[in-house]
């Protein structure tokens, strides 16, 4: 039996050779892929598969729109199926990328004029790094909640007064405690736009705190990872 695979069945699918794996912590690493012609908007995500495998997962893009590489931030899941396999990839391994997908992100005109607070837990910082790389002049603050201070992925890239690390399991953060505890102490300008990304419990709690501070729900934008 013969099957015809018309070219568009491959729509949005690209195969990439892994260029580099950056190990950021024992559990977290980034995959650097050649950007080639892959066009995306900062904040979008892709679906990643290993060539020859039968599964894929969604990851926010960690690099900026104009960066040399397409980079993804990945945390290995204990006893997971997919991420341990990703971690074993080497430079030269082939992966499959579908996308880009999603509307979470930044409009260029808004980036030029708005005031933003990016609130992330763990690897939820990925879309915000992409936005900051893409719009280096953007008026932003990042509030990043992690367990340990070693999880402050690439914090040296952000100006000191724009990045606040909240650590819940060690004393190495700018704030020692949960992100939401820090958020309660913050004051923000009324016109601030908030972008939240990470686990749903953090997002729900942060949303209530911000609403409690009088911000309109329409000023708060959310991307749930799990």
């Amino acid at each position: 039996m013969m099957s015809l695979m018309k070219p568009d069945m491959q729509m949005d699918v690209s195969f990439y050779k892994v260029e580099e794996i950056r190990h950021l912590t024992d559990e977290t690493f980034s995959l650097k892929l050649p950007k080639a012609r892959f066009a995306f908007k900062a904040g979008q995500h892709i679906s990643l598969g290993i060539v020859g495998g039968n599964q894929s997962r969604e990851y926010s893009i960690y690099s900026g729109e104009n960066d040399e590489n397409l980079e993804l931030l990945i945390k290995e899941v204990d006893n997971g199926y997919f991420t341990p396999r990703l971690r074993k990839l080497k430079a030269g391994s082939m992966v499959e990328v579908h996308g880009p997908f999603g509307k979470f992100g930044m409009e260029p005109e808004l980036a030029a004029s708005g005031k933003f607070v990016f609130i992330a837990s763990g690897t939820g910082i990925a879309p915000f790094r992409s936005i900051v790389h893409t719009y280096p002049d953007i008026d932003y603050r990042i509030i990043h909640g992690v367990r340990y201070s070693k999880e402050a992925y690439d914090r040296e890239e952000y100006a000191g007064d724009r990045y606040t690390l909240c650590t819940s399991r060690d004393k190495g953060g700018d704030y020692n405690g949960r992100l939401t505890g820090y958020l309660k102490t913050c004051k923000f300008a009324p016109e601030t736009q908030f972008d939240l990304c990470g686990n749903s419990n953090m997002i729900f709690d942060a949303l209530e705190i911000l609403k409690g501070k009088g911000f309109d729900r329409d000023q708060i934008h959310c991307e749930v990872y799990f």
Binding site: M1, M2, S3, L4, M5, K6, P7, D8, M9, M11, D12, V13, S47, N54, S56, E58, H98, F101, G102, K103, S200, I203, F204, L207, D216, R217, D218, H221, C222, E223, V224, F226
Partner: protein, 442 residues
């Protein structure tokens, strides 16, 4: 040469199937409802739930067994997830996205099937982004003589976590407004009475064109203006809109033109803020409430339909009660209520499906009870009124027929006359039931 086509899923697939029929009949194929008579067997698949995909697997297994006895060509198109596509490549003879429907005759020609159309020159190879436009150029073979679906947009950029459609239909692409208006003019001139504009996010129309195409509100206005120029009575609906892209201007336009039906289907999915976030719906309940307030203010006679999912991951009793409260607030005329089931390909597939089936069934029952209460309450208000009714069928009860009001409420008539099918007539509402009305011809 005969073909048999199975269409699964939503109205988008029905509209697509009308174009598939048009292409095949243009090649000289004749449609048959009996698959055993056909030499070309196809399915337009749906990936929204597992059941229709299971049906595709069952069908192709059966058809491939038939191949031992006779020559057959099989094909599949429609909404397909990558994992299913890979498997179907090994079992179907032809697999193609709907955007490549224009190339379908060439694909069949590859099998050596000679038809008058096969003797014509090949379709030119087009750039990828022109395929969907070419598909829309294909004139559909409408299944009805009074009700038609007009695709105006394809694809989805919303990425609700419970849904895999963005991964099957691709990005949002809007059809040129001039084509849409032409198709509507043609339909109205042919006597069509009910025309539904279709899109996965129908009111996101034009947003993909970055200002080079009119907006959804402007498209409705153009249709409304056309409606004013014709003596024909017709109703234009649209489905499904996304609350994120709904605005007051759309409601104002619907209010301003007679031919724009006073019925709005506005999927809510959940009345709980947290569940909406987890569903990645990108609208708040405040936003939804504002839209409904605009509808009630500007089109008080409009009926309001919705979609709700019960038992989504993270929906505890408290969250469900927020949906109940929202239902009681909005008093929907109709709600399509579904129990959540994880769908391969959707983001939520890997999340724990933590609500038990019994709880989902119970929540479905509770919302269904509310649906009956509020629908009945509304229907009672219509008793004694004279309404326009589009006669669309024969009731199960002998001697009765059925129709739909402009607001899409079902009316049963103690009268049957086949010549009235597809006509809009006056009826007086005589009684109300939970989900329907009874009436008599005036």
């Amino acid at each position: 040469m005969k073909y048999h086509l199975i269409t699964l899923g939503c109205q988008m697939n029905i509209a697509d199937s009308e174009r598939v029929s048009s292409v095949l009949e243009g090649m000289g194929y004749e449609k048959t409802d009996n698959e055993e008579d056909a030499s070309l067997l196809g399915i337009l698949a749906c990936s929204v739930r597992q059941k229709p995909i299971d049906k595709v697997y069952n069908k192709i297994a059966q058809w491939n067994r038939w191949k031992n006895k006779r020559n057959l060509i099989t094909f599949v198109s429609g909404c397909l997830l990558p994992a299913d596509k890979d498997k179907f490549l090994k079992t179907f003879d032809l697999i193609f996205p709907m955007s490549e429907l224009g190339q379908f005759p060439d694909m069949i020609r590859e099998y050596g099937v000679v038809t008058p159309a096969a003797l014509k020159s090949r379709q030119p190879i087009m750039p990828k982004n022109e395929h969907i436009a070419a598909m829309w150029h294909i004139k559909p073979k409408y299944q009805s003589t009074y009700e038609a679906f007009v695709p105006i947009q394809n694809g989805c950029d919303k990425f609700c976590t419970f849904c895999a459609v963005p991964y099957t239909r691709g990005r949002e692409v809007s059809r040129p407004s001039s084509e849409i208006i032409d198709e509507i003019r043609h339909l109205v001139n042919q006597g069509y009475k009910s025309i539904t504009l279709l899109g996965q996010n129908v009111n996101s129309y034009g947003l993909d064109k970055n200002g080079e195409e009119i907006t959804f509100a402007q498209l409705l206005r153009e249709i409304g203006e056309y409606g004013k120029t014709t003596e024909e009575e017709f109703w234009v609906y649209f489905t499904s809109p996304h609350p994120q892209d709904m605005n007051r201007e759309v409601i104002e336009v619907i209010a301003a033109y007679d031919c724009l039906a006073k019925q709005i289907h506005l999927p809510m999915q959940s009345g709980d803020e947290r569940v909406l976030i987890k569903m990645n719906r990108r609208h708040s309940m405040d936003k939804y409430r504002r839209i409904v307030a605009d509808i009630r203010e500007l089109i008080p006679q409009a009926t309001l339909f919705t979609d709700i999912i019960v038992g989504f991951t993270g929906e505890g009793e408290a969250e469900f009660m927020n949906t109940v409260a929202a239902y009681e607030e909005f008093k929907f005329n109709m709600a399509y209520i579904a129990m959540y089931s994880p769908r391969p390909g959707a983001a939520s597939f890997r999340w724990e499906d933590e609500v038990t089936t019994d709880d989902k069934k119970e929540r479905l029952r509770r919302l269904s009870d509310l649906l009956k209460i509020y629908s009945h309450e509304y229907n009672e208000l219509l008793v004694g009124k004279t309404m326009r009714l589009l006669i669309n069928g024969t009731d199960r009860k002998t001697g009765f027929s059925t129709g739909l009001t402009e607001g899409k409420i079902i009316v049963r008539l103690d009268h049957h006359d086949d010549s009235l099918r597809g006509k809009i007539i006056n009826v007086k509402i005589t009684s109300a039931a939970n989900l329907s009305l009874s009436g008599e011809i005036v």
